[in-house]
Structure formats: structure tokens, C-alpha cells
Amino acid sequence: MRRLRFIAQKEFYHVLRDARSLTIVLAMPMIMTFLYGYAINLDTENIVISVIDYDKTSESRNLADRLYNSTYFSMPKTKVDNLDPECALRSGRTQAVLIIKPGFAKALHTGEPFSLGLIIDGSDNNVSAAIQNYASILLQRFLTERLDPHVRLPVVKISPQVLYNPDLQSSHFFVPALVAIILLMVSALLTSVTISREKETGTIEQLLTAPVKPIEILLGKILPYVVIALIDGIIVLIFAKIVFGVPFVGSHLLLLGFGLIYISTSLSIGILISSLVKTQQVAMMFTAITTLLPSVMLSGFIFAIKNMPVALQLLSYIIPARYFVTIIRGIMLKGAGLHVLAGQGLILLLLMTIAVFIASRKFSTKVG
């Protein structure tokens, strides 16, 4: 135990006295949260829509106002040429054009069938789907209000109720998963340099002539970083709360518990990488590539795992972030309890054990 404590203490000194490690510890989580949190935003607002009004009545002007008064749509900077609306779409000055043909006001009063033209820039299918939805919702509301109070509409309608993220804010969906990815990357980066640094500076030679067991060295190297990565996790969560307003429905204690498991798993992966490579540079590169990219792609962070090809789905099972993304979303957004998430935690523990086992084998058989 005393050996473990001293190894841990020594690692603490290394971090505190090394500018590069300190940068990873302090700056990286914040920078990544900001970057990803703001850059990845699927909420579509302020879509530029142009209205070509041939009807020129108070009704048609009301409809246009209704669009522009919503937060979804805004006016183009320059007016669109009535004869060639497509030109504006091509140049990107507008994302959609609504054409109100003559007879709109009249049709409203008589109730005869009438269609409005909506030309949409479909090059970004997320935006074009949003335009269709928003436009038809606004039009529907407009029509319902214009109707004669005596007219009775059929009362059957769908009233969807969105649970856990009622405003469908994409940040609520992304930021918890972001915590998972940042924690993985920071933790793995921290430990990935610990053994390779000893190989590079030659200190491993002296260390291994002392009667210390490989497992003592590995655990002694992991322990201090559990504390450091936990602090990082808390920083990122506070950011999530303050900057992105992500709700926290579930138990803080439960997240702390799972967080500790996840951090330990991530640190073990860093240790594993460190035991395989010779220099710190290679270790950092290797860690960044093997943790960041697969985690972003295969954890369900952005892309739903169940829509992937089977091979990728299988691969995703060895990505620790996959499990923690489920855990943290479950706890923060749904208030999921231990019994729902225990399985995910167990798999993380299993991955950690495997990583530490391989690392200690590598460590004892391959010196320097």
C-alpha cells in the first residue's frame, strides 16, 4: 500500500511540474466543451425565406408577417427577383421562397381549394425538412385563426408529447455525450504518457530494478489520475449546466459512481496504450486517434448505433464511450436508476480489467 501511495504521489508531481500535462488537464476539457457544444447544433433557426406576393391583400401580408414574426424564419437582405426566384436560391441569398398567387384572400373567404407555392433549397436535408415542418405548422395556425368561428373542424388530432427533452434542443442530447467523450480522451491522454515517459527518459530501468510489482506500478499510475479526471468531469458538467442549460434530472451520486468506473476504464486504456508504445509523442497521437474518432462515430454521440451496418455495430461494443453515453443521458435527461444502468457499468468494469491485464502482461515481459 505504501508503495502504491508513493507511486501515486510521484505521478502527481509529474503532472503538476509538466506544462503539457497541465494543459491537458485544465484547458482541453473546457476548449472541447465549447467547441463541440457550439459547433454541433442541429437546431434550425432564422431560416431566410422570401415571400413573393402576387395577391397583394391584407391577408397575404398577414401571412408573410406571421412567418417573419416566428423565430424560425427571417427576411432576406435583398429582395428576390419575382421573375427568377431560383436565382436567389442558387446564390444562397435565401433558403426558401414562398409564392402567394393571386386569389389567396378570396379563397380564404370562399373556402375553395387553393395552393401556395414553396420552393426549398434541398441541399441540406436537415434544413429543408425543418422548413417544410415549420412552414406548414405556421400556415395551419394561421388558417385555424382565420376560420369562421361557427365552422367546426373534426376534433381528432395527434397531440405528441415529447418526454425528457421537451424543447427538442439538440444541446441537451449532445452535451451529456460530449462529457463522455471528453472524459475518455483526457483520461486516456493523461495515462498514455506515463509509462512511455519512463521508457523515453530511461527511468523505467531504475524502477524495474526495485522490487515493485507491475500491478503496483500500473495502479499507482492510474490512481492519481482518477482524482484529476474526476475534477475535469465536474468542470465539464458545470459548463454543461451553465453554458448549455442541460437539465440534470437524475441522481448526482449515481452519476458520480458510474463516472468513477468510466474514468478508471478510460485511464486503463491510456495505460494499455502506454505499455505498447515507446515514446510519449506516439502515445499521444495513438490515443487521440483511437479514442476520439471511434468514440465520436460509434458511441451514439451523433449517429444512432442501431442504424449502422452490423460490422460497425459489433465494433461499437468495445467502445467504452458507447456505454457511458447511454448512462449519462439516462441519468441526466431521464433520471434513470441503478437497475437500468447496472449492465452498462459492468461492461465498463470488464473492459477495464481486460486493459489492465494486458498492460501488466506487456509491462512485465517487455522491458525498455
Binding site: R2, R3, K10, Y13, H14, T203, T209, P211, G368
Partner: protein
């Protein structure tokens, strides 16, 4: 009772086709100061690393302090002190931090570590720089600190791999005075060096060439045997004659 400190029997270590250490045998007695000489790449460091449990031999046997290098490396580690060729203490830690860390690694109690640090600071005059980071120390001071770490747990055998490389003569002399003092206390010193004046201080020396030990004996006896004036000439003569016999005709 006078059990040898190091016994090597037909020890070999191959790296692929390359025979770094090729079937060497050697016995070093307890309390002896033994000079393990050889040209660069002769296999000295490989031999020392096998004896310290850092490297497994390919074949042959070795006993250190009566313990087997294959089966008891963990027990050997407790009884030996090692100074590698390359400075290998933590550069970002201070001298005393390095010593406290290794004290714990060797399983010494906190009070024992403090005692040892005090005693070694006295013996190696480490006081002036023990609280400076190891990276900031001049080479000679670093080597004294490294010796201090190697001596923390009072080992019976010291393996020193070129401990005085790149160190000025005054420091070297001081370093050897310390080694003498240790030998007087009964510590076996197994040391490699390229400085022949240092080798002359050794009780016995061996000369290694291309993985084999070509001569073992007292320095002056070897010189006399070959009719050389000093050890340096002896060493050069021996290594050259080996290279001539090994050269393809």
C-alpha cells in the same frame, strides 16, 4: 561461509542472430571490487541487465547473492543496488523526492528512509543539492545522487554501469573513494568503466570482447603477463589481438 556474490555459468543472451553475450562464465567473490571491462558493444551492459533481473538470459545460468536469475529475480532485486549507464532518476523530482520514492519502492519504513537519507547525504555530501530537481544537477552530482539511491536499501552487491562516464577527474576520484569505503564495509562492487586508471583500482578485472570474456585476473598480473607497461596498453593489446584472430583471412 565465503559464498561468492556473483556466479555466472555459460551465460548467453542473443538478440535474433546477434550474440550480445556469448557463453560467459565468471565468479565474483564477496567484498570484491570487480572491474568488468570491454570495448563498446562488448556485451557488458547486457550482462549486468541479466544479473539485475531486467533481461532474461537466452541460456546458461547465473546466481546473484546465491539466488537464481531465472526464478528469483524479485528476491535478487532486494539485495542489489543498480546504477544504469544512463541517468535514470526522475528529472522533475528533487533529490530527496527521488530518494523517498525509492525508499518506499524498496519497502523501507518512513523513519528508516529518513535515517538513510541523512546517512547518505553525509557520506556522499549531497546536502547542497538534495532539494534541487535532478534535471538541474551537473553530471557529477547526478551520479552521486544515483549512487545514493542505489545504496538506500543497503544492498550487499552494487552493479554500476559506467558510473563515472563524463565526470571530471576530481569527481571520479571522490566517487572511487566512496566505492573503496563501501568495499571495506563488505559490499561487493561490480563496475564497468572505460577509464583504465579506475580499472587499476579494482581487485580483479575481466576483459570482454564481442560477447566473450577473453581474460580475467588482477590488473597488474595481466599487464605483466602480456609484457605491457600499464593497463591501458594491456587492454588495447588484448582487444586488437582478438580482432586480428577474428578477422576473416
Amino acid at each position: 561461509m565465503n559464498q561468492p556474490a556473483v556466479v555466472i555459468e555459460n551465460l548467453s543472451r542473443h538478440f535474433g542472430q546477434f550474440k550480445a553475450v556469448d557463453n560467459i562464465s565468471l565468479t565474483v567473490n564477496k567484498g570484491e571490487t570487480f572491474g568488468f571491462l570491454g570495448a563498446n558493444g562488448a556485451g557488458k551492459t547486457t550482462t549486468i541487465r541479466m544479473l539485475c533481473g531486467l533481461l532474461m538470459p537466452t541460456s546458461g545460468g547465473g546466481k546473484v547473492a546465491g539466488l537464481d536469475v531465472y526464478t528469483q529475480p524479485e528476491l535478487i532485486k532486494k539485495r542489489i543496488g543498480y546504477m544504469s549507464q544512463r541517468f535514470s532518476l526522475y528529472p522533475d523530482l528533487t533529490g530527496s523526492e527521488n530518494m523517498r520514492f525509492y525508499g518506499a519502492a524498496y519497502g523501507l519504513s518512513t523513519s528508516r528512509v529518513h535515517q538513510r537519507i541523512a546517512a547518505l547525504s553525509q557520506m556522499l555530501s549531497l546536502h547542497d543539492f538534495i532539494d534541487r530537481s535532478a534535471a538541474s544537477l551537473p553530471v557529477g552530482w547526478r551520479q552521486r545522487l544515483a549512487l545514493g539511491v542505489a545504496l538506500l536499501h543497503e544492498p550487499e552487491i552494487l552493479f554500476l554501469d559506467e558510473p563515472t562516464a563524463g565526470v571530471d577527474p576530481v569527481f571520479r576520484r571522490m566517487f572511487w573513494e566512496i566505492l573503496y569505503e563501501l568495499a571495506e564495509q563488505g559490499v561487493t562492487v561490480f563496475v564497468t568503466t572505460h577509464y583504465m586508471d579506475e580499472a587499476e583500482f579494482c581487485g580483479r578485472i575481466s576483459i570482454m570482447h564481442q560477447g566473450r570474456i577473453i581474460r580475467v585476473g588482477r590488473p597488474l598480473d595481466l599487464a605483466q603477463e602480456l609484457g605491457c607497461e600499464n593497463l591501458e596498453e594491456t587492454f588495447v593489446t588484448l582487444v586488437r589481438s582478438q580482432e586480428e584472430t577474428n578477422a576473416p583471412s
